[in-house]
């Protein structure tokens, strides 16, 4: 699971990048990028984002997803 970025809301302030304990969020020029393999869904960034542009990851139900 990895957080999701809502680019419609992101204002590239860089706060989440400074917060991310695993360096999963990076700012390329003014474009926020996520290295999803590094994200452990700690949600520091989700809570702190000043504009609500970060969302928690969707749980991975695997192959059983269809049955839900």
């Amino acid at each position: 699971m990895a957080v999701r970025i809502d680019y419609g809301r992101c204002i590239s302030c860089g706060g989440c990048v400074a917060l991310c304990p695993r360096g999963a969020l990076q700012m390329k020029s003014f474009h926020l990028t996520l290295v999803s393999e590094r994200c452990n869904d700690c949600r520091f960034c989700v809570n702190a984002c000043p504009v609500g542009a970060l969302w928690p990851g969707i749980p991975d139900y695997g192959e059983d997803y269809e049955t839900f």
Partner: protein, 388 residues
């Protein structure tokens, strides 16, 4: 591949100041900025004390949007206290200010490159190989490196310096520049309270006429999805300036931590927000950035003259920095901890006590002492921080 004596990453106040100091002494320096125009978009509330400008850049007419003589502190219950500054403050046009500082550095001989974000720094024998996303200068060599790449700095991490901030050590800020927002002229206003900005404060900085920077910062650990900076700011603005129009939105994060322990290393120095130099209590960072940039520049010049680049020859930067701003910053950090835990009642009491003091005699230390008069345990902590 071009080779420079020094490469400065980031053309904010810290980077531009460092580049200018180095270029003035005749060494080759590259100043790289990721924005396509230096200074814009702005990420700042734009307040600075006159003493820093006089020390480093002088004061130029076009930079100044308003002069500030004092601060108005507002408690959640409406109690007000006035504080007159001993030195003048300015609200800057940061876009113009940053641009002029970078252009001055270029004028002194620095090689300014915009729209060039540094993506990777690789230590290599006696120099660094710096990769950028600029199409013409994808690789640059530099003997020394000054990292002034701001709050989201990841370059220091590439060199093994731990820069991650805990959620309790960062203020998430959002600011609107409002037109049609009547406010007290010549005064900045700061409003506290857990309903207004948990673990932070809201500010109103005059920008001349009816224009003002209205913003707030809240502690990263007190922000929740849905109850974030935008939620609190929208509520604050709707309450205070229902008819104002938002002419600019500025977002940014400010570190509220101690300065980095490792501000220098083998061949590199870290300056400005990247070194977590903003004041942990007030969030003021322009002056500290200018100071750290100038010190980094001077140290680089000394090291280049001696032909050295090892850690020991850059160590004077750390010592000077600690002496001029680092120690003050550490004191403020120690008192930040109890401050962010204040209840609304604590803030009301604090401002009531301050409002009884003569405004010209109110200082930050005085406010803090008054603030903690009721709470003896915290007072002891403040005493230790400030007066030991």
């Amino acid at each position: 591949m071009r080779h420079f004596d020094v490469l400065v990453a980031g053309a904010g106040p810290a980077g531009s100041q460092a580049a200018r100091v180095i270029a003035e002494k005749g060494f080759s320096v590259a100043l790289l900025e990721k924005r396509q125009e230096v200074g814009s978009p702005v990420r700042c509330a734009e307040g600075v004390s006159e003493k820093w400008l006089l020390k480093h850049t002088g004061v130029e007419e076009p930079w100044i949007e308003a002069e500030v003589r004092g601060a108005l502190l507002r408690a959640p219950d409406g109690t007000k206290a006035v504080m007159h500054y001993s030195e003048k403050g300015y609200i800057l046009d940061r876009a113009r200010f940053d641009r002029d500082l970078a252009w001055k550095a270029a004028d002194c001989g620095a090689f300014l490159l915009t729209r060039a974000a540094v993506t990777k720094v690789l230590p290599y024998e006696e120099f660094f190989i710096v990769r950028t996303d600029h199409p013409l200068h994808q690789e640059i060599r530099a003997t020394l490196l000054i990292l002034a790449d701001g709050i989201e700095s990841r370059l220091a991490a590439q060199l093994g310096v731990r820069t991650t901030l805990a959620p309790s050590d960062i203020e998430m800020c959002l600011q609107y520049t409002l037109e049609g927002a009547p406010h007290e002229e010549g005064m900045i206003e700061m409003a506290g309270g857990n309903e207004i900005a948990p673990g932070g404060y809201a500010w109103i900085f005059p920008k001349g006429g009816n224009r003002a920077n209205v913003g707030l910062g809240l502690l990263g650990s007190r922000s929740r999805a849905g109850f974030n900076a935008r939620f609190y700011l929208d509520r604050f603005v709707a309450g205070r300036f229902p008819d104002a129009s938002v002419i600019r939105t500025v977002a940014g994060a400010v570190s509220a931590s101690e300065p980095l322990e490792e501000v220098c290393g083998e061949g590199f120095m870290i300056a400005g927000d990247a070194a977590r130099l903003a004041n942990p209590l007030t969030g003021a960072g322009i002056g500290n950035a200018l100071e750290s940039g100038a010190l980094a520049g001077e140290t680089a010049v000394q090291a280049l003259k001696a032909g050295k680049r090892d850690r020991d020859s850059l160590e004077p930067y750390k010592q000077k920095l600690m002496r001029s701003i680092g120690n003050t910053s550490k004191k403020f950090y120690r008192i930040k901890e109890p401050f962010v835990k204040f209840t609304d009642e604590d803030i009301n009491n604090m401002i009531r006590i301050v409002s009884k003091i003569d405004p010209s005699r109110v200082t930050v230390a005085g406010i803090l002492e008054a603030a903690f008069k009721e709470n003896k345990a915290v007072l002891a902590l403040i005493r230790k921080a400030f007066f030991s």
